[in-house]
Amino acid sequence: MKDNVLIKVNGLKKHYNGGVVKALDGIDAQISRGEVVVVIGPSGSGKSTFLRSLNLLEVPTEGEIIFDGTNIADPRTNINLHRQKMGMVFQHFNLFPNMTILRNMTIAPMKLLKKSKEEAEKYAMELLEKVGLADRANAYPSQLSGGQKQRVAIVRALCMMPDVLLFDEPTSALDPEMVGEVLEVMKSLAKDGMTMVVVTHEMGFAREVADRVIFMDEGVIVEEGTPEKIFSSPESDRLKNFLAKVL
């Protein structure tokens, strides 16, 4: 049987300027298979840095990240192979503007998983169908609305059949009326049992979908627990303060 813990983070630190700025200052966390973890916190709290460290877009200064049994923070690990299993969705979508939607979704499976064009396109179309964008397969990103772009970005990540999806403030760059459609897709993913780590300001989403909420401030995890516990009976003053501002 596979270990139920998918990602385990031990003593993760990220310092800038030789330790003057401590974006992450000793994070211990673990994420189980099928779990939806939402990371909240004030801006500058290190939550995005934490998320980006999980697939080494930020190289940690210190600490371990055990992903599926391998310490990927070790320079000797081939991070590219592990990143194939960790999809990422960005605040600004980061679709490739010079490629069609379909090409955006198939380039990685074709080049990295050596899938045939037909196979990759078939799977991509199934996913597009699910998020209601099959008719836009041959459009270019600039022809899509923000919400549509983010839905494409999500299914692009899914095309690699990842074990976990990392969301870096996926709705922060969207017009308010488009937030809902993206959250819907994320909810249905959660329902399907996808492991997700979500950095977001959408407290409604955290409350409704999260299995666990992590509250970060100043580079450390201040409090974590079920949504009920975090939102209804916060313990630390920092969390109470934060919730008073955002709710």
Binding site: N80, R83, M160
Partner: protein
């Protein structure tokens, strides 16, 4: 009316003297051929050199902070240093001087002046192409790079499949401009005994003691070439842009 006819007759005589007699037009056509060969070959060399240097320079700037030291970092720093030295020297000296150094010093034993010119112009052009391509790579949003990496592409594949195609599109006008500059710069090839287009006109002028027609003809040919290539690039550019709308 008479004066027009007289002028026309003069022109005709001048034309025959400069281009038809003793098949002097051949100096122009061979010259044109040599100019085009030098330009195209040195462009290929220049773009090749330029892309490599641009990748070294921009990769160095992008990843230096994250490199973990050791031999690799040292070699990378060394490569970057060599590239910078190359850019400084090549951009800091006139192309005619570089051409003559190549011909009279470095390849002094070679009599294939055409190939020497290709190497000299190619190395010269490479420096400018490198900076053009580098600005193109730097103009691509860091998010594109991260998106590529997050899908599992390594640094090289991200460059090849995601960054360079977009960068190329952005720098195409500047590259076309470099090509046109290069075409005109080859007119100094006569310094190393190459019979390019300009030299061809010069030979005719020296033989016929008539300056007007050979020089104007040479100028017109350059102009037509430049207009033709500009048009070609415009078409290519439009085709590349179309995909984004």
């Amino acid at each position: 009316m008479d004066s027009i006819i007289a002028w026309f007759n003069d022109f005709k005589a001048d034309f025959i003297l400069n281009f038809v007699d003793q098949q002097r037009w051949k100096f122009i056509t061979t010259g044109l051929k040599n100019t085009l060969v030098i330009t195209l070959l040195s462009l290929i060399l220049g773009v090749f050199l330029g892309i490599i240097i641009a990748i070294v320079r921009s990769s160095y700037d992008k990843t230096y902070d994250e490199m973990r030291g050791g031999v690799k970092k040292f070699l990378f720093s060394l490569a970057n240093g060599i590239c910078r030295l190359y850019l400084t020297v090549i951009r800091g000296t006139p192309v005619v001087v570089q051409l003559m150094i190549m011909y009279y010093i470095i390849f002094a034993s070679s009599r294939n002046s055409l190939m020497v010119a290709v190497i000299a112009f190619g190395i010269n052009s490479g420096a400018y192409v490198a900076e053009i391509v580098r600005s193109g790579i730097m103009s691509i949003d860091a998010g594109q790079f991260e998106a590529g990496r997050s899908l599992g592409f390594d640094y090289k594949s991200t460059m090849i499949y995601i960054v360079l195609p977009q960068a190329f599109k952005n720098v195409l006008p500047a590259l076309a401009n470099e090509f046109i500059v290069l075409l005109k710069e080859t007119s100094v090839a006569g310094y190393v005994t190459i019979r390019d287009l300009t030299m061809g006109g010069n030979i005719i002028r020296a033989a016929t003691y008539s300056a007007f027609l050979p020089l104007i003809a040479v100028a017109l040919i350059y102009l037509v070439l430049v207009i033709f290539f500009s048009k070609l690039v415009n078409i290519l550019e439009r085709r590349l842009r179309r995909s984004e709308r």
